[in-house]
């Protein structure tokens, strides 16, 4: 009888672990923004960025970041706890290579439960930037950025607890040179 109750306890624990794991996986999948529908833009783009870093790769990379180097330590701090970083960016030689439907296919996913649009910026110079956050209770569970310019389309998806302030400050630090978007725009204008 005692043996039977022990077996039941083990089975119950295993079941709970499976259910918990499935819930976590499902949550991660919900936070993941699908961008496969944009694959066709690769052929049109003059340059593309396609970054897919899952949790395993983040952890592997984190091992190669030194905590003694302040720059690397800040990067390590930012990526610590993240479950995935996915970036797709297309740069075109001509304008209007992507369609509004492409943008809508991303936006429709970000209208799902949990996602909140915290920033929507429209600029003639720098295009549109939309920032979405996945809120899990009182914590940020993910980030999505949809940036569209006449000749550029970028979709960013970060899964896991994101510190926006630290992430924003990273520009210009180790291995992350400032893109100097402002200055390049000014030059273009001149």
């Amino acid at each position: 009888m005692k043996l039977l109750s022990h077996t039941n306890l083990k089975i119950a624990s295993l079941f709970a672990a499976v259910v918990f794991g499935s819930a976590i996986t499902a949550m991660a999948q919900d936070t993941r923004v699908q961008t496969s529908q944009l694959d066709y833009l690769t052929a049109k783009a003059s340059s593309t960025v396609d970054v897919n870093i899952d949790e395993r790769l983040i952890q592997l990379t984190a091992k190669f970041l030194s905590t003694k180097n302040p720059d690397e330590a800040s990067v390590k701090e930012v990526v610590n706890g993240l479950k995935g970083i996915y970036v797709r960016s297309f740069e075109f030689e001509k304008e209007n290579e992507y369609s509004l439907a492409d943008l809508e296919s991303i936006r429709s996913q970000l209208r799902g439960p949990g996602w909140s649009r915290i920033v929507n910026v429209s600029s003639r110079k720098e295009g549109n930037v939309e920032v979405y956050l996945m809120i899990n209770g009182s914590q940020i569970g993910g980030l999505a950025v949809l940036a569209s310019e006449p000749k550029e389309l970028t979709v960013v998806n970060v899964i896991g607890p994101v510190d926006l302030e630290k992430l924003t400050k990273l520009e210009g630090q180790f291995g992350i040179p400032e893109l100097e978007i402002e200055s390049s725009k000014t030059k273009r204008k001149n």
Binding site: I53, V79, V119, S122, T154, L170, I176
Partner: protein, 189 residues
């Protein structure tokens, strides 16, 4: 000789048999009560033995855990610091640096310094006995190191893009007095 006597002790008894019975009667089974010698007392309390056994088991487990942890730490030091892997890492850094325009030291500072790596290797040799070294878990292969470095490149690129886009959003959001059309939708809280 009457054989029936031999089976059930009936009938005529042979003299020779009687003599044999008398001689062997001394050796026959004598039922008597079991006598416990006075020197043998009651066994000691099994409670003390059990406690001792449990304590010994815990001590063995702690010792084993300590050894295992020490070994893990030593193996961690060994990771990617072998002379075989280093050239591969340096080559990768140089290749990546050539492709991206960054210095190889920027790309992988953890491996850029030979002296640092040698210090790690020396520390490893000091801390790991040859016996443990033979038993140590397999070190990361060159492929794993290459994968990690490639992932690091991707991570930096991704962070650069994310950070740049967030900076644009932040700058535009703060510059609300400009002619840009800005919508901040603070749905949180």
């Amino acid at each position: 000789m009457n054989e029936e006597y031999l089976w059930d002790r009936t009938g005529h008894t042979d003299e020779e048999i009687k003599e044999l019975e008398q001689v062997l009667s001394e050796l026959k089974y004598q039922p008597q009560q079991l006598e416990i010698p006075a020197g043998v007392g009651k066994a000691r309390s099994s409670w003390a033995l059990r406690t001792l056994a449990i304590a010994a088991t815990i001590a063995m487990l702690l010792l084993g855990a300590g050894l295992w942890r020490g070994r893990q730490g030593s193996v961690g030091h060994q990771a990617v610091n072998t002379a075989k892997v280093l050239p591969t890492v340096q080559n990768l850094n140089q290749e990546t640096a050539a492709n991206t325009g960054h210095s190889s030291e920027d790309l992988a500072p953890a491996f850029s310094s030979n002296s640092t790596a040698r210090r790690h290797v020396a520390a490893t040799h000091r801390s790991v006995t040859p016996r443990l070294a033979r038993r140590a878990a397999p070190q990361p292969t060159a492929n794993e190191v290459a994968e990690a470095l490639a992932a690091k490149q991707q991570l930096m690129l991704a962070l650069r893009v994310v950070s740049a886009k967030l900076t644009v959003a932040q700058r535009q959001t703060l510059g609300t007095t400009t002619a840009n059309q800005i919508h901040n939708q603070h749905k949180i809280g």
